[in-house]
Symmetry: C2
Subunit: 194 residues, 2 copies
């Protein structure tokens, strides 16, 4: 059960955003700028980085929500998303993305865990400064989102069929204010604290 | 030396924000909404939470920048800010703020480290749901900002007299776009990687 009095019809971060719209706006703007951009890194690659970091942080709601976004952008290839979660080094992705996921994993541990050799490795595989910037900020941002979601014990739908539905909405409409509007499809009444 | 090619005349997060204005805008809007609000928690209390989390994350640039903001709002009481950094339990602050700093410290470890008894303790000391929400989100946001700053090895001025100067600017003008404009006062040429 959430630690504060939020709308129980909204899942995860959406309930927290509805509770405090003043901070919801910059949070959703940040997600939009970081995850919907297609320069250098594709939307699928950005969501894979978000999913991987959320998985490392053991944030059930976030790694499932963003994992489903990645599945959407990868034309339904859920196996690839699972492979990135569990063992990206052996997943069927580019060497550049592997090098960036290594950096993301370091950021998850702490900023100072990122070493010059991790950056050199990414650059050797054609990562640009902007790719590296965006990877570090996506990973850092999910260290925030994950802590926000779980630190307030927000609820995560247990009904796994709700995640692809919401992912489709975000893939089509972005991370705008609709994601924390109570007018959107409601979460399952059966919820778990993830 | 920073891992990406940023403006060397800007310190810490300001150099990263100038590199990528699309993400700088929501990041500074988030800081403005969370740290300049005065409802429930004062600006000084908000900056103390930010400073404490940045200190736990060993982010030299952030804990000094936000520590100086707190000093500003506390009419120069640097001893109190140092006391909160090092041993808040024995600092001359309210029991409510101590309970919220305990929650912030848990968030720094991870979202799931926050336990029901930590929340009950804060409520017992008159913390509202909004106070708890803002504490968790400030702590989570600094787990992002700290990782962003150190994960890209941005530079932190070694000249400690520059921190109070920049803090005064932010106290007066907020976290607007001026904080990453190159037209603002420049960092010391002597810099360290913090």
């Amino acid at each position: 059960m959430p630690y504060i009095d939020v709308d129980k019809n909204l899942p995860g971060i959406r309930s927290l955003m509805a509770f405090r719209p003043e901070t919801a706006k910059p949070l959703s703007d940040l997600a939009e700028a970081l995850l919907r951009d297609n320069t250098g890194l594709s939307r699928a690659e950005r969501e894979l980085i978000a999913t991987y970091v959320s998985y490392l942080n053991d944030c059930f709601y976030c790694h499932n929500s963003h994992g489903e976004l990645a599945v959407c952008y990868l034309d339904g290839n859920r196996e690839l998303v699972d492979a990135v979660r569990k063992d990206y080094r052996n997943a069927d992705i580019s060497e550049k993305l592997k090098a960036l996921l290594q950096i993301a994993g370091k950021v998850q541990q702490g900023g100072k865990s990122v070493l010059p050799e991790n950056i050199e490795n990414a650059k050797r595989h054609q990562a640009t400064d902007r790719d590296i910037h965006d990877t570090v900020l996506i990973a850092a941002a999910f260290c925030m989102f994950n802590r926000y979601v779980d630190g307030l014990a927000s609820t995560a739908p247990k009904d796994m069929s709700s995640y692809p539905l919401r992912a489709k909405q975000v893939a089509e409409n972005g991370y705008g204010p609709h994601i924390y509007s109570t007018a959107q499809p409601q979460a399952s009444s059966e919820e778990i604290h993830a």
